[in-house]
């Protein structure tokens, strides 16, 4: 593998492009317009600049990494990719459409990977003529810092695709876990009910926000309390993820609790909006 395509220049997409370029891959970063492409590359640049300021990356290395990231608004520029990682919004129809289009453009052996935290990789694979070459690669935010990638095997994914995609993750400095395609995969399947229960405790008034977060940090050794974590990830992201998991499972433990829904509707998205369970 030499050439990597990334679809979507948001937080996740730009992070994936960055770590791929840093590992020596040529990267084509696709988004729907010039502005989004620019913003995506801008994210990489500002992340690396902070690294330069801290003495973690040299100026020359930063330039070298950036020189390997090629922004584009034309999907045809992804045709020579060995693997394309799609990181568009977490909407099933959008992801299916994107993979259907990529399928027509990229070369026959190219792996199509979807960066999703909660949607069915099997269904996305079924939207292409190469379902055996489709796989889920769930990166964690922030991508350059989080070491894990969940490698999700859809019902159709071929073993060679799993091996090659796993090798790609290792090549860009990530550690992998292999999981089957089930709602929320490993991490969110376990985390979302934990989060929901923490919101329930708060909403019932059984304990305070600070006690809940202290319980997880001081009692379980978690780096962040569940309420801090939601604020960090974004309540909008959580609301969407919980909804998606509930839709797939009809299991109430995944459904967004009323308080989460109300806070989402009130625009309290957490850190990014200045107010969530905490104020920023």
């Amino acid at each position: 593998m030499k050439v990597v395509g990334v679809v979507g220049g948001g937080t996740m997409g730009s992070g994936i492009a960055q770590v791929s370029a840093a590992a020596g891959f040529q990267v084509h970063l696709l988004d729907i317009n010039e502005q989004f492409v620019k913003q995506g590359i801008g994210r990489i640049e500002s992340f690396l600049k902070k690294g330069v300021a801290r003495g973690k990356v040299t100026e020359a290395k930063m330039q070298e990494i950036l020189s390997r990231v090629h922004g584009t608004t034309s999907m045809a520029d992804l045709s020579e990719s060995d693997i394309v990682v799609e990181a568009v919004f977490e909407q099933l129809e959008l992801k299916k459409k994107t993979h259907g289009e990529l399928d027509k453009v990229v070369k026959p052996g190219c792996i199509l990977a979807t960066n999703t935290s909660c949607l069915s990789v099997t269904e996305i694979a079924a939207a292409t003529s190469r379902p055996g070459k489709v796989i889920g690669l769930h990166f964690f935010n922030p991508v350059p810092l989080m070491r894990l990638v969940e490698v999700i095997t859809a019902l159709q994914t071929e073993e060679k695709t799993v091996q090659d995609a796993t090798a790609f993750c290792h090549a860009i400095g990530k550690q992998t876990v292999r999981v089957k395609d089930f709602p929320g995969f490993l991490v969110n399947h376990l985390l979302i009910p934990f989060i929901n229960r923490s919101i329930d405790v708060l909403d019932h008034g059984w304990a305070t926000r600070d006690e809940i977060d202290a319980a997880a940090k001081l009692g379980l050794g978690h780096p962040m309390g569940p309420l801090e974590l939601i604020d960090f990830d974004g309540l909008d992201v959580h609301h969407m993820t919980h909804e998606a998991m509930y839709t797939q499972t009809k299991d109430p433990k995944f459904a967004p609790p009323t308080l989460l829904t109300h806070m989402f509707k009130a625009g309290r998205f957490g850190k990014k909006s200045g107010k969530g369970f905490y104020e920023y």
Binding site: M146, L190, V201, W206, G219, L220, K253
Partner: protein, 267 residues
């Protein structure tokens, strides 16, 4: 800061041992009792070796706990056994300023009532491992007066612990959140959706947990966890506490975790 309290600890399993060490380090005098005296002796030796020889001794009988200011029970999560122990301690003349139970899954009020305790029973759920985790989940039995509650809080503060309380039915926060998580982790393994290694690796690297759920369970003992989650389910009928079939099977097969050499992992 309170120091020099005489603390009696009954049952030197993982929690009892950890709490004994924390108490000795906090400047208290610990008297340990276990039905297997060698276990208690070993802990007392470890505490002495750690530099506090005058702070740990072993009781040959429950009667030797009669002069303790605080008595904590850390027996397995079996209500009958705990109630019988408290009755026996009262019978032997123990008159602590308050009783403490390390239970994570049983009702404190129910226990106090069944044991007919005259002074407050206070749940002090030390999270595992007690020497590393700062949290103690505290529940006061009905009628605990503010003075006793303060004394309990001061005692925990002297151990460097942070106390949290929940007014929810279970009285728990950490375990209210984490026990269902552990049950789900077992189910993912049971269904073959990911390997045991990958389940733990995913939680450590993806969520930053210090230990993966399956290792946590193996360290705690699968029999102990089955008892906890079953007790909680029985009382609250919360699906999160329903035990996975595989957990029951492993306990039946004697695969109890680290202590038997095999649980979700081999040791």
């Amino acid at each position: 800061m309170v120091v020099g309290k005489k603390v009696g600890i009954v049952g030197v399993g993982t929690i009892g041992v950890g709490v004994a060490k924390v108490c000795a380090a906090g400047g208290h005098e610990v008297t340990l009792f276990d039905l297997v005296p060698e276990k208690a002796l070993k802990v007392a030796d470890e505490i002495s070796a750690a530099g506090s020889p005058e702070r740990a001794r072993v009781a040959k009988s429950l009667k030797a706990l009669a002069n303790c200011d605080i008595i904590l029970e850390a027996l397995p999560e079996d209500l009958t056994a705990k109630v019988e122990l408290f009755r026996e301690l009262v019978h032997k003349g123990c008159k602590p300023s308050f009783w403490a139970t390390a239970t994570s899954s049983l009702s404190v009020n129910g226990m106090a009532r069944d044991a007919e305790l005259k002074v407050s029973l206070i749940r002090m759920h030390f999270l595992n491992p007690p020497d590393k985790m700062k949290l103690v989940e505290v529940t006061y039995s009905a009628g605990t007066d503010p003075k006793t509650a303060d004394a309990a809080k001061e005692f925990l503060a002297s151990l460097g612990k942070s106390a949290v309380t929940s007014t929810g039915k279970s009285g728990l926060i950490a375990y209210y959140l984490y026990v269902p998580f552990l049950n789900d982790a077992i189910r993912i393994y049971e269904k073959g959706l990911a390997s045991a290694e990958d389940i733990d690796k995913g939680c450590c690297l993806g969520l930053g947990y210090p230990v993966g759920p399956l290792h946590y369970l193996d360290a705690m003992g699968l029999d102990a966890f089955l008892q906890i989650t079953s007790n909680l389910y029985e009382q609250y009928k919360d699906q999160g506490f329903a035990s996975p079939h595989l957990l029951q099977q492993k306990v039946e097969a004697g695969e109890l975790g680290c202590k038997t050499g095999k649980g979700f992992f081999a040791y």
